[in-house]
């Protein structure tokens, strides 16, 4: 061994320095790769083990918090359990081998299905896809196929009573662009779509039928000529007032409203379709196709309702009209909704059998099938009908990082991506409920809500993981540096020193152990700081760069948007900038003005009072001081709330001013007494002197925010002056009296004493506090939130919900708590931090405690 060592030593000496350096770095890097490996190279095995234990700890934590060895089934997010393969086999058996089933099996086939043709499909399917082995999976797939095949999206001519199949494939959500030939037809038809579930309106001379353009606007469309839009003005008396689209100056026509049944009738000649209209007690029929100018309302007798006319039963209640061809089609698309109900898939021969089978099982005592199992089954069938949906579902809910990764990997993924998918809301499966469930088990199956990657939680978990990892990384860096340094020392050391160095591992651990006391004492504080202080601040900082906004954003997925939210502050035309751009600068300006004036009024108010209180004329200084310091001693929150009550429009202060006769004078001056409408017209000085209409609106004057702001600053003097008064009295009494005497002997008068002794000394010792007060007032949440609530004019969306007295922090708080606009709130808190943080930091660097360490 020694020989080898000597050899290697010789070799080392011959090596150029850079290659030695590389060796040390490699040793360090070894510790980076596998912690402790570098120490092993340095032959410090115990130390190596020490670091390695932490390495294993890291890996174990990652492994234990993850699910690396599990297979992730995305369908575990669905409720209930799957029906078993036996379930499927039994069904299969019952269909094909019904002669072998027990006698109490009372299922009978509907007559209209030719027996020999019935179940060939399923049998074949099983043969082809499952080599004759029935499984629940295959059954699900087959049911889906069966439903889709028997429910093509189709047009049904109401007059010809014939069906034109538009599409006979598995439908995608995009209906109209699959078959180029059909596209033209459907597009043409679509133009005249009439939703009969809506009320139709007839004009006075029955020359035209109208439907509402959409639920939101008050415009009506002539269903025969969609380009002719009339404008609806009045809802009084349930009438329509129609204007000529081309000439709005024409006298509008007022239409009486007809009640529309939505029932269509086909006459015996199958020539025309009539719409039934109720006008009070009389029933009319109107031909919805005839030339508009011949339009007449027909009574039943004229139309010959009865043997010659039959009502048309619509399955979907949505009808397409082809005006030119005089053909009425009914569109059958099982997945559309009419009046918020699904049109739904029709029962097929196969599905009716299955439904019957299912019903039998659910109604049999002893079976433990649950409603949620049914829901699960239906959703799975629906997925089979929509492979792209299924695929998306499987991707979303078997996300490796979210479902399987441990705390650290998941953490990094979370911070980088903020989660990848939004919550799922699966309710379309209700379209197949009618076709598969005749049992009534699922009379109402709710829409299935599955939460997605909730970005807030993902980010939170992510930060926790990342912060924890930071501590491990600190440990790792320690190991790497140690390996590097020891390697370097070993090279330079002589043989004896080398042994000492290797032995010193013990010493090393001794110091580590001794430092252990400090770490143990610190650990709870470190823990709390990491997760209660650092983590939230990081979180708050980061969400300023995301799109998190809106009521639902706490439970949904949002993404990184870079500096967009900050750009909004400068771009007043886009997105949130419209609301928050100008509002921000207004609020910032007022915040600064507020911070400045509230600090200086209070500072000099306190100074003034301290000077008065300390003047030679005042005996019983303590007594007066005790009274005047009261506002400081009363908790600020309480006095702020009391002020908001006192200065209420109908509060104590106004009553007091009224009783001493000030109100009469104010009315005479015209500062009070203008109506709200008049007040809106005021400009210039008049506006500044407008105090309210009947009462002085101290904190709620919507026209004259300047007045409110001034009042606020004045009220704040009450709250703030005693603190400075007390502080400065203290300073003044502690000023060395000999200073004054010396100055007096030199012939200084009172003013000079004040100017050259009192003032500079007081300023000197209170200036740091002045700075802190300024930044405190910048964030004086209480005064704003409790006294004015940010008002007047608070809560208007177009100005970002900011009121006239809202400062950044109160605005930010309201945005977070009341309006859920978290990203902008966060942007503001970042900006507040940049201001306040730098002030406090600057202030603190000047303190002795900081300089000492």
């Amino acid at each position: 061994m020694e020989d080898i060592n000597k050899d290697s030593k010789q070799n080392k000496k011959n090596q150029p320095t850079w290659s030695k350096e590389i060796k040390h770095i490699l040793v360090g890097l070894a510790s980076l790769l596998i912690w402790g490996l570098g120490q092993v190279f340095n032959r410090q095995y115990i130390k190596g083990l020490f670091f390695f234990v932490f390495f294993v700890g890291l890996l174990f934590t990652e492994y234990a918090t993850g699910k690396y060895n599990q297979v992730i089934d995305p369908y575990r997010y669905l409720p209930g359990t799957d029906y078993s393969d036996i379930f499927a086999t039994n069904f299969y058996t019952r269909i094909y081998q019904k002669e072998f089933t027990s006698e109490d099996y009372s299922y009978e086939l509907p007559d209209y299905i030719p027996e020999e043709e019935r179940f060939v499909d399923f049998g074949q399917y099983i043969e082809e896809n499952g080599q004759g082995v029935v499984s629940m999976d295959l059954l699900t797939k087959f049911i889906a196929k069966d439903l889709v095949d028997h429910n093509p999206v189709r047009m049904y001519s109401l007059i010809e009573e014939s069906t034109a199949i538009v599409k006979n494939q598995l439908r995608s959500s995009d209906l109209y662009y699959d078959n180029p030939e059909d596209t033209a037809a459907i597009t043409a038809l679509n133009e005249n779509k009439v939703i009969l579930s809506q009320q139709l309106y007839h004009n006075e001379d029955y020359s035209a039928l109208y439907q509402k353009k959409d639920a939101l606007t008050s415009e009506y469309v002539n269903i025969k000529d969609p380009s002719d839009i009339i404008i609806y003005l009045s809802t009084e008396n349930n009438t329509i007032t129609a204007y000529d689209k081309d000439d709005l100056s024409k006298t509008p026509i007022v239409f009486p409203q007809y009640k529309l049944t939505g029932d269509l009738y086909l006459d015996s000649l199958k020539a025309n379709i009539y719409l039934r209209i109720l006008d009070g007690s009389t029933t009319y029929y109107t031909d919805i196709f005839n030339d508009p100018y011949d339009h007449t309302l027909l009574t039943a007798s004229v139309l010959g309702v009865g043997p010659t006319t039959k009502p048309i039963t619509l399955q979907t209640r949505s009808v397409y009209l082809d005006r030119n061809a005089h053909v009425v089609y009914e569109l059958f698309d099982p997945e559309t909704t009419v009046q918020s109900l699904y049109v739904g898939y029709h029962t097929t021969e196969f599905s009716s059998l299955f439904a019957e089978y299912l019903g039998g099982l659910y109604s049999t005592a002893g079976y433990s099938y649950k409603e949620t199992d049914m829901q699960r089954f239906l959703i799975k069938v629906y997925f089979e009908m929509h492979p792209d949906l299924k695929q998306q579902f499987e991707i979303d809910f078997s996300n490796f990082f979210y479902e399987q990764a441990g705390i650290f990997v998941k953490g990094f993924w979370g911070v980088i991506t903020l989660g990848e998918h939004s919550p799922w809301s699966i309710n379309e499966y209700q379209t197949i409920v009618d076709a598969l469930d005749t049992t009534g088990v699922s009379t109402y199956l709710p829409s299935l809500e599955i939460r997605g990657h909730i970005s807030t939680l993902v980010l939170l978990d992510g930060l926790i993981g990342v912060l924890l990892l930071v501590y491990f990384i600190i440990f790792m860096i320690w190991g790497v540096i140690d390996a590097y340094m020891v390697s370097k020392k070993l090279e330079l050391a002589s043989e004896k020193d080398k042994n000492d160095l290797l032995k010193s591992t013990k010493e090393y651990f001794k110091t580590v152990y001794e430092e252990g006391f400090e770490y143990i004492v610190l650990s709870p504080a470190i823990f709390v700081i990491t997760f209660i202080s650092i983590m939230p601040i990081l979180f708050g900082f980061l969400i300023a760069f995301t799109s998190i906004s809106g009521n639902k954003s706490l439970t949904e997925n949002f993404s990184w948007v870079g500096f967009n939210n900050f750009i909004y502050l400068f771009d007043f035309t886009n997105g949130l900038g419209e609301q928050f751009g100008v509002a921000f600068w207004n609020v910032l300006l007022w915040t600064t003005i507020w911070a400045f004036f509230s600090t200086f009024t209070v500072f000099f108010g306190g100074f003034f009072q301290a000077v008065i209180l300390n003047s030679e004329h005042v005996p019983f200084k303590k007594f007066w001081r005790t009274i005047l310091i009261l506002p400081w001693a009363i908790p600020g929150l309480l006095s702020q709330m009391v002020f908001s009550v006192m200065f209420n429009e109908y509060g104590f202060i106004n009553e007091l001013l009224r009783s001493i006769g000030l109100y009469d004078r104010l009315f005479e001056l015209g500062w009070l007494g203008k109506t709200a409408a008049e007040a809106q017209q005021l400009i210039g000085l008049d506006k500044l002197l407008y105090l309210g209409s009947d009462n002085i609106q101290w904190f709620s004057n919507p026209v004259n925010p300047t007045f409110v702001r001034v009042t606020l600053i004045v009220v704040n003097i009450w709250l703030g002056f005693p603190y400075f008064m007390a502080l400065m009295s203290g300073v003044m009494t502690s000023i060395d009296k000999t200073l004054y005497e010396a100055a007096r002997i030199d012939g200084a008068d009172k003013n000079q004493l004040f100017k050259f002794i009192t003032f500079p000394l007081v300023m000197y010792s209170t200036a740091p506090i002045l700075i802190m007060t300024f930044s405190g007032n910048f964030n004086n949440f209480g005064v704003i939130y409790f006294i004015t609530g940010g008002g007047p004019n608070a809560g208007e969306a177009f100005r970002g919900y900011a009121g006239d007295t809202d400062i950044l922090i109160s605005w930010m708080y309201k945005l977070t708590v009341n309006y859920s606009i978290y990203n902008m709130a966060s942007v503001f808190s970042v900006l507040i931090f940049i201001f306040v943080g730098s002030v406090t930091a600057w202030n603190l660097t000047r303190t002795r405690a900081f300089k000492e360490d």
Binding site: F517, I543, L628, F643, E655, I769, F833
Partner: protein, 453 residues
């Protein structure tokens, strides 16, 4: 109150004229006396004749000076600027006096009493007595003043220099100083009385407009405990405050000790990190705290808030205590180490007893924090706790949230001004008294914190 703004123009003008005449006459008398003083004539006689307008002045001018004086001294007294200065002072004195009398006679009377007290203090001082003795005597109207004048002289002093105390300049200063102090005191006290009145008014949905109700009751206090969860609010807040104080102070004190005395890897980095952290405003993490609480099912649980307060208080307070501990000499530690004490013993037996003032300052601060904080509980406690009903939300509140809802009308607590006031009193009075009692220490603490660190 009387209508103060009902004066007509004629009344105002006549008031101004009377004021001017009175002030002018007083100026004349004052100038005459001043001249007499300058000329060192017999003051007893001079004072008497100075009351006669013009004649007095001429008489004094005519009387030859008792000793040789510089002619400019007389000219100085009769300078126009000086005359106007004196006139202005008298206008001030009589103006303030009559205006305060017009506003409220009690106001005037108080000013008068305190001016007299102040004068008496000055006189007592001149006589070599303790000024406070004169001040107290002076509180008795008129009699007190006479008594002060009759106090025995402790040092030889001319009667004239006692009178000097009462010159117009002093009068003007005193009357203005006391008008200001008393006026300000009223402004300071009125809201305080008002809140007592509001509590006694039992007016629930309308704001009391009288400072004191005609029929005071204690119904609001009863309502607070019977109809509202006030007791629960109090308990919630108290729990948060106590946990915050105890756990927080222990954590912070331990950590500060380690940072002040310990030598360990990462100390500098740690201190710097704490320093950076404390300049972050706590509300930056508002949403994060919400999400964190939601994740662990802590929303709507008051006690859980204390960990947030602790977390927020750690960085700044470690610096504060550490700064204090640094001032304790290390020789004490070294001596103890020689005696074989370990780190824990040093901490408990040496450092802890010496740092009681700063620790109690921090502890009081930690205890007070939750009482008046609105931001966190207003956000985190306004949601039902896991498993609790919406109707239970009010029972989760802290005092600050509950009181705020009482005047602003929340979703779960109806407006009730009297109950608000009653609650505010129950919370505010002990705190206020504490602050008043310990004001000196608190203000010293603030000064120390800001200038020394």
């Amino acid at each position: 109150m009387r209508n103060l703004f009902s004066l007509t123009e004629i009344e105002l003008v006549s008031f101004a004229i009377i004021l001017l005449i009175v002030a002018a006459y007083s100026t004349l008398v004052s100038l005459t006396t001043e001249l007499a003083q300058v000329k060192l004539v017999d003051m007893k006689k001079a004072r008497k004749i100075s009351w006669i307008p013009f004649f007095g002045l001429f008489e004094i001018l005519r009387i030859p000076a008792a000793s040789k004086i510089h002619p400019t001294e007389i000219a100085n007294v009769l300078k126009i600027s000086h005359i106007f200065k004196v006139l202005f002072r008298f206008i001030l004195i009589f103006g303030v006096a009559s205006i305060t009398l017009y506003i409220n006679w009690i106001y005037f009377a108080l000013i008068a009493i305190f001016v007299q007290s102040s004068l008496s203090a000055d006189i007592a001082d001149k006589k070599g007595q303790k000024p406070i003795q004169g001040a107290i005597l002076g509180l008795i109207p008129i009699v007190g003043f006479i008594l002060t004048l009759k106090l025995p002289n402790k040092k030889t002093i001319e009667q004239e220099s006692i009178w000097y105390v009462t010159r117009s300049e002093v009068w003007a200063s005193k009357i203005i100083v006391f008008a200001e102090i008393i006026g300000l005191s009223v402004i300071v006290i009125v809201p305080v009385i008002y809140i007592f009145g509001m509590a006694a008014s039992n007016q629930q949905s309308s704001i009391p407009v009288d400072i004191w109700p005609k029929v005071p009751t204690i119904d609001a206090f009863i309502f607070l405990f019977d109809e509202l969860d006030f007791g629960q609010w109090y308990l919630n807040t108290l729990t948060i405050a106590v946990v915050d104080m105890v756990v927080g102070t222990v954590l912070i004190t331990g950590a500060s000790y380690v940072f002040a005395r310990g030598k360990f890897r990462g100390k500098k980095t740690g201190l710097l990190a704490l320093f950076v952290l404390q300049s972050f405003p706590s509300f930056m993490g508002l949403l994060a705290m919400y999400v964190l609480f939601e994740k662990f099912g802590l929303l709507g649980r008051p006690l859980a808030l204390s960990i947030l307060y602790i977390g927020g208080a750690i960085p700044g307070n470690i610096w504060l205590i550490k700064g204090y501990l640094n001032q304790i000499t290390k020789e004490l530690d070294e001596a103890a180490i020689i005696d074989g004490a370990n780190k824990l013993q040093i901490f408990f037996q040496i450092i802890l007893p010496l740092s009681v003032p700063i620790i109690s300052f921090v502890a009081v601060g930690m205890f007070m924090g939750p009482w008046m904080d609105y931001m966190l509980p207003g956000y985190l406690l306004n949601v039902p706790a896991a498993g609790a009903a919406i109707a239970d939300i009010p029972s989760q509140y802290t005092l600050a949230v509950g009181l705020f809802q009482l005047i602003n009308g929340g979703a779960y607590v109806a407006k009730n001004y009297a109950a608000f006031a009653a609650g505010a009193l129950i919370v505010g009075v002990p705190i206020t008294v504490l602050y008043m009692v310990f004001q000196r220490y608190l203000i010293e603490g603030i000064m120390a914190g800001s200038t020394k660190g």
